[in-house]
């Protein structure tokens, strides 16, 4: 079993708030829908560049889209 990443994200919440489908968001950031699903589910850690692209779609900062629990302790 693959150990899940500690990095969590709010992509699904933000995406639904924006009324975007997975396919539409995937197209806008230049990945396949399967890759976006993997990122949303924490099964794939996006590159820093991709993370910035996702954040830019929502007009949010990186830390609003991605969270790393360790930094709060």
């Amino acid at each position: 079993m693959v150990k899940p990443t500690k990095v969590t994200n709010s992509i699904r919440t933000l995406r639904e708030a924006e009324g975007l489908t997975q396919a539409e968001l995937a197209r806008r950031i230049g990945v396949t829908r399967q890759t976006l699903i993997a990122i949303e589910q924490g099964k794939y850690s996006p590159t820093l560049e991709l993370a910035f692209q996702i954040s830019r779609v929502f007009g949010s900062g990186l830390d609003e889209v991605f969270q790393y629990p360790g930094e709060q302790n």
Binding site: P4, V31, T32, Q34, T35, A38, Y44, T47
Partner: protein, 144 residues
């Protein structure tokens, strides 16, 4: 299933089938004689040829069928595909290294060319099968 995942599955399935077929043909050809007496290279050459062509044909056919249902997904790949491919190559390369070391040992022992060639061939096959398996698992379970 994305384009690159289909390619991985195609290569994996074909590599597994052709490797098993190679072993079966060599063992059957040997019959009651020692394995080293088998004229291995035509069988190996056919196996490699069929394996390369087979994975291309399966991938193309699968792509055509998948393209009917998802025309936008044909031929597209992204960073995740490249990351998974690199991980699969890394896992598979360990078997290539073991095979290379095995060949050096067999050469030092002046073993029959049958064993030298087949150790190398099986290390290629294991590299493809194990690396491919690691890749398709990563597609299903994730890569973090």
């Amino acid at each position: 299933m994305v384009y690159e995942e289909r390619n991985k599955w195609s290569a994996l399935v074909v590599a597994f089938i052709t490797t098993v077929a190679y072993v079966v043909v060599v063992v059957q050809t040997a019959g009651d004689q020692p394995l080293a007496t088998v004229e291995w290279w035509p069988i190996m050459a056919w196996t490699i040829g069929i394996s390369v062509l087979g994975s291309i044909v399966v991938s193309v056919l699968w792509g055509i069928i998948a393209g009917i249902f998802d025309p936008d997904g044909v031929g597209t790949s992204d960073q995740r595909d490249r990351d998974i491919s690199r991980m699969g190559d890394r896992v598979g390369s360990s078997f290539m290294i073991m095979g290379g070391l095995g060949v050096i040992v067999l050469c030092a022992l002046e073993a029959d060319t049958f064993w030298i060639a087949n150790v190398m061939f099986l290390s290629f096959a294991l590299s493809a099968i194990v690396g491919g398996t690691a890749s398709v698992i990563a597609y299903r379970r994730g890569l973090v």
